[in-house]
Point group: D2
């Protein structure tokens, strides 16, 4: 692991990384035997209807992350293919259109989120749900909060979550923390998650890597998945 380039290199100082080592963080949580794939919020409202630079993309949807989102989509494609091949469960926590009474704290903190065009809520075609997938509308950062995600994972007998989608510092992180708390093993393929802010993206990957999940290149994740009997 030491020689490999990590997404947070240059951001987290050597001293800070040494501090985490000294505290004993960052050991691997490992891969179980029954993985489930969570594809979180990969809807056109988070990537745009076509690949565009961020500052173009947000003209279409204020919640768009632009190019980095489309890069992630391309990396999710082979990961999803492996899940399809093995007929492992794929679940799509996603944001459903908001209605006025659902505002709460979110409407105050991020009012733009209350007014997104309908097409923004469609799943990105390249990695869209198929019949039999679990669709989970959610209204909070964590895909577990106020949804039946835990129930679906228990029904599927899952012991491991592979988490893809966006944003790294928002719904991905919230879902990873809850998945860890529920005692699922969590792995994040680092090219399959995305965010509007580069620093938040990298530092959240570091935080999750140290405390809650295994963070690694998607190629390594696929290799580990293939090794499951």
């Amino acid at each position: 692991m030491s020689a490999q380039k990590r997404p947070w290199d240059g951001l987290i100082s050597a001293d800070d990384q040494k501090a985490y080592r000294a505290a004993g963080f960052g050991r691997p949580s490992g891969m179980g035997k029954r993985p489930a794939l969570l594809i979180i919020d990969v809807q056109y409202r988070t990537v745009g209807t076509t690949p565009m630079p961020f500052w173009e993309a947000i003209k279409e949807f204020p919640t768009s992350c632009g190019d980095v989102g489309w890069n992630a989509v391309r990396n999710i494609v082979p990961l999803l293919a492996e899940f399809r091949r093995r007929k492992w469960p794929v679940m799509y926590p996603h944001v459903a259109p908001k209605v006025a009474t659902e505002g709460g704290r979110l409407a105050e903190k991020v009012p733009a989120i209350m007014n997104i065009a309908a097409k923004g809520y469609k799943f990105v075609k390249e990695i869209a749900p198929e019949p039999g997938d679990v669709l989970l509308p959610k209204k909070h950062p964590s895909a577990f909060f106020a949804t039946a995600l835990a129930s679906h994972l228990i029904d599927a007998g899952a012991d491991t979550l592979i988490v893809a989608g966006c944003t790294t510092s928002g719904c991905v992180r919230g879902s990873v923390v809850d998945g860890f708390s529920y005692n699922f093993r969590v792995t994040i393929p680092e090219e399959c998650v995305y965010d509007r802010g580069a620093v938040s993206h990298a530092v959240n990957l570091f935080d999750m890597s140290e405390k809650y999940a295994d963070v690694m290149p998607v190629a390594d994740v696929i290799e580990k998945l293939k090794a499951i009997p």
Copy 2:
């Protein structure tokens, strides 16, 4: 707010901050009428029995944050005094000693956490619980997960959480995300939370400020609390 120095200045680029502005994040969530104070994990195991630099401190407890923790303790003192004066609820989510069967994912990811000396679990005297405070043993990052915190807050009629303690990138963040999801208004006095890593500390404050909470100097928090009739 614009001219004020923020903890994440220099870390989050102007471009990234502009991106969040463009997406419509970061509006104030505001202060309600019935605040509750959460003091999370301020036990000797996170600050050390006396103020010491980080690299000294972790020799006593691997989970210690050292000096930054004691700075936070000093800043929590006047905040707590205001809560005592108004007889508002004060709750202490904290880590109880671990037993072998409670390991789960945590024991694998951070094995050092399973072996902390008993004195490390004592509350820091300067801001320790008094009779009538709510003590909440917890075993996961969020103070809400697998605890009765939500029930206690509902019983107290709280509408606002003031969150202090540690670590910014761990239990503070997990608790803030859940508090936000439960529709409490959340405020973080920025000098009252601490972490072992400077970058994670600052970037997590930024993330929470943009999406889940109001982050401001403790003096401003106390002023706003005093304004509650």
Copy 3:
């Protein structure tokens, strides 16, 4: 309370009632200051499109409770009117049409529930939601499980739940137990809840009255609500 006829009279023996008295159960939980009304599952699928005896009603929808449901609807009308008059929050936990991947344990235990005609999911007109009410699709017995009900109640500042709808032994009971656990005060107007089985209905009212809620005639509930300043 002693002289008043209770729904469980004749079913729960004097000895059993004495046992609960001796154990110290059944004290009043009382009414708070900010009530919210939960109208659970009052959709045509649980009462039928017109009042009919049970054995007629279930020919229309297997999940129908028939006449007892329409009696409850008539009793909910003045209760709801009081909430409308005071502009207090009214929330409608309800069952949304099922899709194949949502089966889980329910599909095995009650397969008929997976195939109800669309009109059955409509709210009963006499007490249907109005703009501004909170609609909560649910898939489990408790209206709190995997829904944002707790978040909505916290946002509304509610401290008391008035629970109406069906079935007494199913979703009403599940919701009452969770509402109690969250530390809301819970009151059940006894003519406003209904069930397909008379004994389950009465015994569940008894259980809830002893352990989780105040159970009383709707006229008494309305009187207590009117007394809130």
Copy 4:
């Protein structure tokens, strides 16, 4: 199933049972492959320090169920032995001594519960926990509410819950409803659960049998467990 005597015979009328049949309730949920045993609240405070008739028993502890509790203990013995033999997980949700700040709604509804002698909280020796068992202090009816039970079950890879203990109409029922909602398969060995009220006991078994769980004699449960490869 038809000829077998059921605990609710004579209480639930033939008509009511026919109504449930017509509505399509009561199909078996079945046994999975990885069972976990929950022994809920089998502490001296619920059975007394020695077998005694109910009216004697409650003089020792107001929360005691007396003889019926000891009958259940005797029936749990062989069930537990089977779990020990297979090294399957055994979990003990139980009530820990109350402190003043934990009262909430419970202290109002059942004040006697706040003052039980310390020896009452000890586990009944015949079926007490052994090293490696999971102990879960709880403060609400459901063993899942505000506890890490779901996390422990996920860590154990459990797909099926066998639920024993007390009271049938209280913590057993609350836990069964949540276990069902989380999509665990739930089985209740009918002689292994107990309650202070005979009617509530029987009717709650009926309710759970129709909607949430398989209810059967403990001998049948043990036979089904033995059939798991």
